[in-house]
């Protein structure tokens, strides 16, 4: 008798069967999987399920409490919306990758120990990179490699932290970490990298704009918010996060001014928004944690909606830059209106979902009398409206006619956007639906006269500023440097330094060495004979064996990172299958 089913089961193992179906049946199946996953989450009883003993470790696959259920609820909803949005995509591997990615995110959410968390954490990185590579252009392939390498480094740091934690405490339980030792900081760095906290953020804005139209919608939902969940779980009340989050909120806003690619602009606003959540985790009060969860929940929905709107524009016009867009509201009015609902939601207009969620975090800062944090977070929210609610839609849909004559996107894309837009307004109008899911008791009332007037003044006068400065705000065909410079250009410059400085210096030392030690040449010749006949003989014999083995192994080596990634994902799948049953 099965009394508990892991919601990832449908997404990860169900996804592997997608290629068996064709046409309408396949489309039905692609919607069915996330729907079943959502249903499983809705019906799940709180408690600890799926405890497995594996090599002496107690692995917990199903810790269901209010915190994990709230995240699981929105993750599986995002998977369903994303699946509907991608329904027209013929490339089956993208569906599989998206579902394995979403399923791993749910797996990480329900993990009760660090080892299970780690396995799903890595699976997320390997599955999601397919959504970037699947665009099949040079920029995407390159950005995908960088994305994978950065996450591989983050994964190693996280694993190191977990191992140290196990060695020092004997436990791998995934709970709040108390002792500030090496494990504390290594695991924190692993989490912060996935949450895209500067200076560990550049992978996001480097890779997301290069993903497929439908893939970016999935990417916007899972990686950063799974990291927010992990931070809430392990690091509530860690004060350093307050300032890191606030700086992050501003960092995203500043770079969004300079962004010309519409999805890169939205990517910088993921960083900005997640900054609020990270700051709230640092505050750690009941209101702040509730705020972080509520904000993550609403953010996934409206950010998905914004990425869907931007994706629709890219798909129908073939253009992605503000400097090449404009005036297409006539041809895509429905897309425009749905996008604007996302724009008003992220900007926290009254009656939209951001208003009832983000404001909890800002109020939590006020309750703690964090004056500067409060002022800076409020400033950043003006920036959110400025870019996501004004600049991007103005220069994409309104503004000067760019000459493109697109049509509305396929109906499934509009339906997915419609569902997300409905939820954004629904939560804004009826926040108790969301508040009932939050981990702590909610005693917060967003719709007071002072709060509404306050928010309207901030937003509308930001709008006034926008229209006064509008001439200077259009996109320009430029890119702005960010910290990915260090591994995109810096590595090359480092190699040049090696060739131009280190190598000549080394040569010089060799010259000196030769002239000084020439006297020992006779001794050296004797040594050479020994070296040649005895040592080399042994080495050569070993080498011959190695070469023969390598020749056999070479048959399975293709030298392509994609294939290695597939082998790793495959092995992880087999491992998780083994541990589930």
């Amino acid at each position: 008798m099965i009394d508990w089913v892991h919601p990832s089961f449908f997404l990860i193992f169900g996804a592997l069967l997608i290629p068996l179906f064709k046409g309408r049946v396949q489309q039905f199946y692609v919607v069915l999987l996330p729907a079943l996953s959502l249903l499983t989450v809705m019906l799940m009883e709180p408690g600890v399920h799926g405890v497995v003993n594996f090599l002496g470790f107690e692995l917990i696959f199903g810790r269901a409490d209010k915190l994990s259920l709230a995240f699981a609820y929105v993750f599986s909803s995002a998977a369903l919306i994303g699946a509907i949005y991608a329904l027209h995509v013929k490339d089956v591997s993208q569906h599989v990758a998206a579902f394995v990615y979403a399923g791993s995110s749910l797996g990480a959410t329900f993990a009760g120990d660090f080892l299970t968390l780690f396995v799903f954490w890595e699976l997320m990185a390997f599955a999601s990179v397919w959504l970037i590579w699947s665009r099949r252009v040079k920029a995407s392939i390159e950005a995908g490699y960088r994305y994978l390498l950065v996450h591989a480094v983050g994964g190693v740091v996280l694993l190191a932290g977990i191992i140290i934690l196990y060695v020092t405490t004997g436990s791998i339980r995934f709970d709040a970490l108390q002792v500030r030792d090496a494990a504390f900081y290594l695991i924190l760095i692993g989490f912060l990298l996935n949450a895209a906290v500067p200076p560990l953020h550049a992978w996001l804005t480097d890779a997301y704009p290069e993903a497929t139209v439908t893939g970016a919608v999935f990417l916007s939902a899972f990686t950063t918010k799974t990291a927010v969940y992990a931070l809430i779980r392990a690091y509530p009340g860690t004060e350093v996060l307050i300032w890191m989050g606030t700086i992050m909120a501003l960092y995203g806003v500043v770079f969004a001014v300079l962004a010309n690619d519409i999805r890169r602009l939205l990517g910088y606003h993921i960083i900005s928004q997640v900054g609020y959540m990270v700051a709230a985790v640092g505050m750690g009060t009941a209101l702040a944690i509730n705020g972080a969860v509520a904000h993550a929940f609403t953010h996934i929905l409206y950010k998905g909606l914004l990425f869907m709107g931007a994706g629709a524009v890219i798909q129908m016009t073939g253009r992605s830059k503000l400097s090449e867009l404009g005036g297409i509201y006539r041809y895509m009015p429905v897309t425009f209106v749905l996008y604007m609902i996302g724009g008003f939601s992220i900007s926290a207009f009254p009656l939209f979902s951001g208003f009832v969620s983000k404001s909890m975090e800002v109020s939590a800062a006020a309750d703690l009398h964090l004056t500067w944090i409060w002022l800076l977070l409020t400033l950043a929210s003006a920036g959110t409206f400025l870019h996501t609610g004004l600049k991007l839609p103005y220069f994409t849909f309104l503004g000067d006619d760019c000459g493109a004559r697109p049509t509305e996107p396929p109906r499934n894309m509009l339906v997915a956007m419609g569902i997300a837009a409905f939820l954004c307004v629904f939560i804004g109008v009826y926040p108790d639906w969301l508040y009932n899911m939050l981990p702590h008791e909610v005693d917060y009332h967003p719709y007071t006269a002072t709060h509404v007037v306050w928010a309207l003044q901030i937003l509308l006068f930001t709008g006034l500023g926008f229209f006064m400065l509008v001439k200077h705000l259009g996109g320009s065909p430029k890119i702005s440097l960010d910290l990915d410079w260090f591994y995109r250009k810096g590595a090359g410059l480092f190699m040049q330094f090696v060739y131009r400085v280190v190598v000549p210096v080394e040569d010089w030392f060799i010259q000196v060495y030769r002239s000084v030690f020439r006297g020992n040449l006779a001794l050296g010749i004797k040594g050479l004979w020994l070296d040649k006949n005895v040592i080399d003989g042994a080495v050569n014999a070993i080498a011959a064996v190695v070469v023969r083995c390598a020749g056999a192994l070479r048959q399975v080596q293709t030298g392509q990172l994609q294939h290695y990634a597939m082998v790793m994902v495959g092995s992880l799948l087999i491992l998780s299958l083994y541990s589930l049953f």
Binding site: V253, V254, F255, V257, L258, Y329, R330, P333, V334, F336, V337, A366, D367, H369, T371, W374, T378, L379, A382, G383, L386, L398, A449, T450, V453, W454, A455, L456, Q457, I458, L459, L460, F461, T462, G463, L464, G465, F466, L469, H472, L473, S476, P477, K478, I479, S480, L481, D482, R488, K489
Partner: protein, 83 residues
């Protein structure tokens, strides 16, 4: 009614739209003088219209600082990473 037509008529009446916007801006500040404030943490929460000023200054600050950073330091040609 068709969404496209509504949008079209809004875009064609920017002057009316502008006037309505100014009235709304003025109203949000005017209302601020009459609402009662129960509890507050920061002193500026008692100043009517403070958030209007703060919102406007925030917007201008963000634009000016970011544009300056971009112009003097961060902006490069689109081919920068391909060279």
């Amino acid at each position: 009614m068709d969404i496209g037509k509504i949008l079209e008529s809004l875009v064609n009446n920017t002057r009316t739209l502008k006037r309505v916007s100014y009235v709304v801006l003025a109203l949000t500040v005017a209302i601020d003088f009459f609402i009662s404030r129960h509890h507050h943490v920061f002193f500026w929460e008692d100043i009517p219209g403070f958030s209007a000023v703060y919102g406007f200054i925030s917007c201008v600050l963000i634009v000016v600082i970011s544009k300056a950073l971009g112009h003097y330091w961060l902006e490069r040609s689109e081919e920068y990473y391909n060279d």
